[in-house]
């Protein structure tokens, strides 16, 4: 039962992260699909992959993208 | 530890040397000595290695490991599990020997030219070139399709590094476009590999072919066609066939000339390696051959016609190089042993001739610091010997006897007529004529027309090493043109095994 909730969280989190205007929020929201996929890996009987994905997908990748946003610009430009 | 361990050394030695070169900074002499020694050793190793296979970790198939096979239940020995390869396997036969040798030779010339044309050679640039060579050698040798994917990603990163290091205007934008596309094509290639893994239970190509032939899996099911489409998409990206021909030619034009020579060798050999794997896995399906021939014809036409309208000579060369890849694809797609041999021979010739052209035209950049054909002219009187060498390179690309491309294009046209498709022969001849015309136009605008007044020619002499590299490549072209049996004998065993 819980895995269906996780799957819906993943897809909704991905769509919401891409719809943000503020890039820092988008970077942090990338962590939500990452950690949900880590839980799904544990449910799918692969515990060591779940550990790696939990670290990389929820801590390393959002922090890299947030650092880039801090060094460039904070908001998305208005499309022409 | 037998002599077959030398097969692994072909990949490990460039990587180890590259890691050392990356650490050295500001020690010019050490960088030069280490780079030259590695560049000399890399082409020599394939000539010394005996033919055979190398199993990483010693994991031979159970059928060959008598001590372990004794106590096993008949559940394992009775079925085909006995013959499967449980580890990563590299295969080394005469065709791989020739191709790894030519790749090593081009690496040697690129490193030799680089060390003598720049005053302070950078260790990081040599690191990128050696990592690229190691990756493409591994792609040629490996029989394990996931290993090919890992080295494909490493090669993409190395190519991006070579573009970024060149200092030409707008190279960062091209590098970003290239790696964005690469990060789309890479996971899709992995998806295709994983679909094949799910259907057959193996990542080793020999075992997958065995599973298809024995009928355990239906080879015409739509799932396998989807895997073919995804793997073909990754193949198109790595080799520069349409729809990636514009980004590939931009990549060639934004790198320094010796880097561009090496990059196009990477593209040609990746096309050959992954193309052979696609033929081995999917050739019972006639759709594969038609698709490969179709995309190659489109590549030839688009590449060579777009070369005519360019004004930057590096872009002209880039589009011509992409167009010539189409000939190789036609050879592979024809499906007969003679056609595949012709295609592989054309690949070897193509790598040599295009490196020759890039290094040759690189001398123009060295003397004038510009690559816009509207501003150039009259370079013939600056250095007539180099101009003659570049002219011979262009004639070689168009297929003039007695140089090597004539032999391989003749074999390709014969193979096309033998397979009942003479229209392909006509298209190939027409496009060779257009190639020659484009090259002569570029040669005339750079070398032969009168020098415009604003052009300033720098006073530095072209280094002797560049001229030596050009003469050596010309000698190789002439030898392969007069004695094509040197190459075709090595390639025939591979081609015969594919049909």
């Amino acid at each position: 039962m819980i895995e269906y909730i996780l799957m819906i969280t993943t897809v909704l989190g991905a769509i919401i992260a891409l719809m943000q205007r503020d890039l820092l929020k988008a970077a942090i929201l990338t962590g939500i699909p990452g950690i949900s996929i880590a839980f799904l890996f544990q449910f799918l009987l692969a515990p060591d992959v779940a550990l790696t994905q939990a670290i990389v997908g929820s801590a390393i990748v959002p922090v890299f993208i947030a650092l880039t946003v801090l060094k460039t610009r904070r908001t998305e430009e208005k499309s022409k | 530890m037998n002599a077959n361990a030398l097969i692994a050394v072909m990949v490990i030695l460039p990587i180890a040397s590259a890691l050392f070169l990356n650490l050295l900074h500001k020690k010019d002499r050490t960088i030069k000595i280490l780079a030259i020694i590695t560049a000399i050793v890399i082409p020599i190793i394939p000539l010394l290695t005996p033919y055979g296979s190398h199993f990483f970790g010693g994991y031979v198939p159970l059928a060959q490991n008598a001590t372990l096979a004794q106590g096993l239940p008949s559940l394992i020995t009775g079925t085909q599990l006995f013959q499967f390869h449980p580890g990563v396997m590299y295969v080394f036969t005469s065709a791989q020997q020739l191709m790894v040798f030519v790749l090593g030779l081009i690496t040697f010339f690129a490193i030799f030219t680089f060390l003598n044309e720049t005053k302070r050679p950078s260790g990081v640039y040599a690191f990128l070139m050696f990592m690229g060579t190691a990756s493409v050698s591994a792609i040629l040798l490996s029989d394990d399709i996931f290993n090919i994917f890992v080295f494909f990603e490493i090669a993409a990163l190395a190519q991006v590094g070579i573009i970024v290091a060149s200092g030409i205007k707008n190279n960062y934008e091209t590098a970003l476009k290239y790696i964005l596309l690469g990060n789309i094509a890479g996971p899709l290639l992995l998806l295709g590999i994983v679909i094949l893994l799910g259907v057959t239970g193996n990542v080793n190509v020999t075992d997958m072919i065995f599973t298809f032939k024995q009928g355990y899996v239906d080879p015409n099911s739509p799932v396998i066609l989807m895997a073919l489409a995804l793997i073909a998409f990754g193949w198109l990206y790595a080799s520069g066939l349409p729809p990636f021909h514009t980004i590939k030619s931009a990549v060639y034009s934004k790198a320094l000339p010796h880097g561009a020579a090496l990059l196009q060798a990477f593209s040609v050999f990746t096309l050959v390696a992954i193309g052979i794997i696609i033929l081995r896995l999917f050739s019972y399906n006639s759709f594969t051959n038609i698709a490969i021939i179709g995309i190659s014809v489109i590549a030839m036409i688009l590449g060579i016609t777009m070369a005519i309208v360019q004004t930057d000579y590096k872009r002209i060369l880039g589009y011509l190089a992409v167009g010539e890849l189409g000939y190789i694809g036609i050879g592979l797609g024809l499906g007969t042993a003679f056609g595949i041999t012709a295609g592989l021979f054309q690949a070897v010739n193509e790598a040599i001739i295009t490196s020759f052209l890039f290094i040759g035209f690189g001398t123009v950049l060295y003397k004038t610091r510009t690559s816009n054909t509207r501003k150039l002219g009259g370079m013939m009187y600056v250095n007539p010997k180099v101009a003659l060498l570049v002219l011979l390179a262009g004639l070689a690309m168009a297929g003039v006897p007695p140089l090597n491309a004539f032999q391989s294009k003749l074999m390709l046209i014969q193979a096309a007529i033998q397979s009942g498709l003479p229209e392909l022969g006509i298209i190939m001849i027409l496009l060779s004529i257009v190639t020659f015309m484009t090259f002569m136009k570029a040669f005339y605008t750079i070398y032969m027309r009168p020098k415009p007044k604003e052009l300033e020619i720098l006073d530095n002499k072209i280094p002797r090493s560049t001229v030596i590299s050009l003469v050596a490549l010309l000698i190789i072209c002439i030898i392969l043109g007069l004695f094509p049996q040197i190459a075709t004998n090595s390639l025939q065993t591979l081609a015969a095994g594919l049909v």
Binding site: V11, A14, L23 | Y172, I184, P187, L190
Partner: protein, 123 residues
């Protein structure tokens, strides 16, 4: 077909792949393209692990008190997890390289819009 968690997991992986490709090709901002690439890699990894899943099975760790044939029949498939571990690391490293290039391009052009930066200037 039976609607169970493995099938829904395949659908999740597929939708992540589609969202990732859409973001990488059609969105204008460079940072969002890169987030899309991260989702594409995540989708492919989820697909691989789902393929190796055996409903009602056990984890593929062989403890000392197990019977070999029982283990071989009920454990989930261990080969895909090696592919996924390698792929996660490859994805993180390529992401670092792309982000470095984006920072340098932003300093030169002053914007993060892909249509301004990646427009081919015809040379």
């Amino acid at each position: 077909m039976v609607v169970d968690s493995q099938l829904m997991s395949f659908f999740t992986a597929g939708s992540l792949v589609v969202i990732g490709i859409f973001a990488a090709l059609f969105l204008d901002n460079l940072i969002k393209k890169i987030i899309g690439l991260a989702f594409l890699a995540d989708g492919v990894n989820l697909f691989i692990i789902t393929m190796g899943y055996k409903p009602g099975g056990i984890v593929y760790i062989f403890l000392p008190d197990m019977v070999v044939s029982n283990f071989a029949q009920t454990a989930s498939y261990p080969l895909p997890f090696a592919l996924v571990l390698t792929n996660i690391v490859i994805g993180a490293s390529t992401l670092a390289v792309i982000l470095g290039l984006v920072i340098i391009l932003n300093k030169r052009h002053g914007s993060l819009s892909a249509s301004k930066i990646l427009r081919d200037k015809g040379e």
